[in-house]
Amino acid sequence: MHLVYPAVLSALLFCTGLYGVLARRNAILVLMSVELMLNAVNLNLVAFDVWLSRAAEETLHSGQALTLFTIAIAAAEIGIGLAIVLAVYRNRGTSDIDKLRDTAEGPETEGPDTSAAEKAEATA
């Protein structure tokens, strides 16, 4: 099998995942998209490992070994990710990423007047 088939497939998978991460609103779907991206990378790793080891005299198949690592880590990541989403949903009643904006910078509260007053208080 020519290398271009898995490579194109993996690129398509990655782009789908990227689209999902950037555009989906539901946090669970975002996590699933992340999985797609990871698996695109896994596919690349396996395909290139096979392609490279075909020419070599002896090989450790490090690409396939790394794939196993990635799968294990992806499993852990999705477990924690889903637990967080579950906790957020229980707390907020939603898993919509657009509505979870707690880290947004609010309107400017600290003006020059209040800071001067605070300083005067601190030095007094």
């Binding site: 990423i97 400017e108 300083k119």
Partner: protein
């Protein structure tokens, strides 16, 4: 045990007592009293033994160098001559009396453990000053006393008077200590050593290049510590401390240190005629001024404080005429009777519930309430007024005799002018001393009016100490004046006939004048009602005193002065009375000259800091704040926006790398 070991133990024991007292004060309150009294008593025994072994013979010198300290070496050195041996005995004796008295006086005070430890530390510092043969080690004791006096004068820190007085005592003595330190450095550099023996050797061989400058610098520190004009103003205010502390500061430690220091280094001062004349003028102004001021004070302890300043004036006067034997003789006898006066005053304040003489003069039978204080105080006042045969007579006459000796030109180691100044001022002060001593006695014990409140006997620890101190006040001078020259420089201390007659006559005149004035004014006393009396006289003595000090100003409008028409001092001083009561406006003068300019400077600096420096800082902060506000807008809180920005950045970087790699 060798004499050197014994001598090291003398300052060390109270120091260890102080350390143990501070460490164990809270956890083991039962040990506090033994830890306060026993080390001091042991130090007294050791000091007495050292004095016996030294016996006025060759000075004991010992030194050890712990570590090299650069150009001029600093060593642990002992230099015990007759002066050091006897003064150490006095210090340990008075400190032991004060510690025993304090166990009764402050028995209900919650801060007694730290108080007792600080008194021990104070004693140890003074003993270090007395025994030290190295000027820098002496300075350590000198400064430890300064900080201890700060803590002890401020013992009743709940009252604003005590807080102000402790700060004032500390600042004024430090004002003298800065020139003192510079003077010590100059002396050490000139002599090539800080050892007292080597310094004196260098002086004898003419090795000191700037004797006047050094002597005047050292004199500033002595004036601060020994409360001489113009740095004496802290001492009357220091009366806001507990009475035993006043006794300790005034009799044996702190104020005696300055006089003792000059006595030790007298040849350095004698090398400069100008310094001796300055010393004489300082002594004369201090003596007469304090005598006048004492005549107008209302607080019984302030009268005694001014009398201390005056008696210290006698000592510096004796030093100004080059007779350190007379100075230390007066230091010893004064130490005994002044400690007695203060401790007796503490008993009286407790019994009367007030520290105001005006209020005491409206109480009858006060002397029946405190018979021990009455009799011992009478003895001490007679000693203060230098009536023969009490000890003050012999020591004061030895000072006047030395001044007369110099004034008539029998000696060349002190200028004749100094002799005349000291002699005239000393005789005038003898009159004033007798006058204020009589006034104090008459107002305190011969009051007429309502009976003094009776709240039982004073504790035995307090009254027994009075009698112990009464013995040297009565007999020390008469017994010692023949044997003391053997301990000192060998100069005769016997009173001369002329000064004895003059001094005693003037003292009698002063006493009789005051008695006459009192006879005339005491009739007025009944017309004006009684002043303040502490509200809880059944409390411990220390609490009553704190209350009396705190209530004096609200009742009379001034801490020193009472508007009492029945005061014989008012009749004697005439128009001077008003000025004498406030110490001749010296505090107001200092306030106008130093305090207000400093405060004005401080407010100027405050203005510059707030309005000028801060403006620059805030201006510099404006641009970063603006940029920050712009950048903050990117923080939308939407994770997907962030990831999009990340992707865009990655793409840009990847394209840039590709372009660079392909060489486009």
């Amino acid at each position: 045990m060798t004499t050197t070991t014994l001598a090291v133990l003398v300052p060390l024991l109270p120091f260890l007592g102080a350390a143990a007292g501070l460490l164990l004060g809270r956890t083991a309150p039962g040990f506090v009293r033994p830890l306060a009294v026993l080390p001091t008593l042991a130090a007294l025994a050791a000091a007495a033994l050292v004095a016996v072994r030294q016996g006025g013979d060759q000075a004991i010198d010992a030194h050890t160098e712990l570590t090299p300290t650069g150009s001029v070496p600093i060593e642990f050195a002992l230099h015990i001559d007759g002066f050091a041996a006897l003064v150490a005995v006095l210090v340990a004796f008075v400190a032991a009396c004060v510690q025993i008295y304090s166990t009764g006086y402050l028995r209900e005070d919650p801060r007694y453990p730290s108080y007792a430890a600080l008194v021990s530390l104070f004693t140890s510092a003074m003993l270090l000053v007395v025994y030290s043969g190295d000027l820098i080690v002496l300075l350590v004791g000198w400064e430890v006393m300064g900080i201890c006096s700060y803590f002890l004068v401020g013992h009743y820190w709940e009252t604003p008077e005590a807080r102000a007085a402790s700060l004032k005592a500390f600042l004024v003595t430090k004002l003298g200590d800065v020139p003192f330190l510079i003077g010590l450095f100059a002396l050490g550099t000139d002599a090539g050593s800080f050892r007292i023996t080597r310094v004196l050797g260098a002086v004898a061989s003419g090795g000191i290049d700037h004797p006047t400058l050094i002597a005047l610098l050292l004199l500033a520190g002595v004036a601060g510590k020994s409360a001489q004009f113009p740095l004496h103003t802290w001492l009357p205010d220091a009366m806001a401390g507990p009475t035993p502390v006043s006794a300790l500061i005034h009799a044996a430690t702190m104020v005696a240190a300055g006089v003792y220091f000059i006595a030790r280094l007298l040849p350095v001062f004698e090398a400069s005629q100008a310094a001796m004349v300055v010393l004489a003028v300082m002594a004369a102004v201090t003596m007469t001024g304090s005598g006048l001021a004492a005549l107008a004070q209302d607080d019984i302890k302030r009268v005694l404080a001014y009398s201390t300043i005056g008696q210290l004036g006698y000592m510096t006067g004796a030093l100004a005429v080059g007779d350190r034997g007379a100075a230390v003789f007066h230091l010893l006898s004064h130490g005994a009777f002044k400690a007695l006066l203060f401790l007796a005053a503490g008993v009286i304040i407790h019994a009367a519930g007030t520290n105001s003489l005006a209020a005491m003069s409206r109480m009858s039978h006060l002397r029946d309430r405190v018979p021990d204080a009455y009799w011992t105080m009478t003895v001490a006042l007679l000693a203060l007024a230098a009536i023969p045969p009490f000890s003050g007579f012999f020591s004061k006459e030895s000072v006047l005799g030395a001044a007369e000796h110099v004034a008539t030109g029998h000696t060349d180691h002190a200028p004749g002018a100094a002799g005349w100044i000291v002699l005239v001022a000393g005789l005038l002060t003898a009159l004033l001393t007798a006058a204020y001593a009589t006034r104090l006695w008459l107002l305190a014990f011969r009051g007429r009016g309502a009976e003094a409140p009776d709240h039982g006997r004073q504790p035995l620890t307090m009254t027994a100490v009075l009698w112990v101190l009464a013995v040297p006040s009565l007999a020390f001078g008469g017994l010692a004046y023949r044997s003391l020259p053997g301990w000192f420089d060998g100069r005769d201390l016997t009173p001369t006939l002329l000064t004895s007659i003059l001094g005693t006559g003037l003292a009698l005149v002063g006493g009789l004048l005051t008695y006459g004035a009192w006879q005339r004014t005491s009739a007025l006393a009944a017309r004006i009602p009684l002043g303040a009396v502490a509200a809880h006289p059944e409390d411990g003595a220390g609490l009553v005193e704190a209350e009396a000090i705190a209530s004096h100003e609200p009742v009379y409008g001034n801490i020193a002065y009472a508007p009492d028409a029945a005061d014989p001092g008012r009749l004697l001083l005439g128009p001077l009375y008003r000025h004498a009561a406030v110490g001749f406006h010296l505090d107001a003068l200092y306030s106008a000259l130093f305090v207000r300019p400093v405060q004005a400077g401080a407010s100027l600096v405050r203005f510059l800091d707030r309005e000028v420096v801060d403006t620059y800082v805030q201006g510099a902060a404006a641009l970063p704040r603006l940029l920050g506000a712009a950048v903050r807008r990117a923080q939308t809180g939407n994770v997907q926006t962030y990831v999009s920005a990340l992707l865009a950045g990655t793409v840009v970087l990847a394209v840039a790398v590709l372009l660079v790699a392909t060489g486009a």
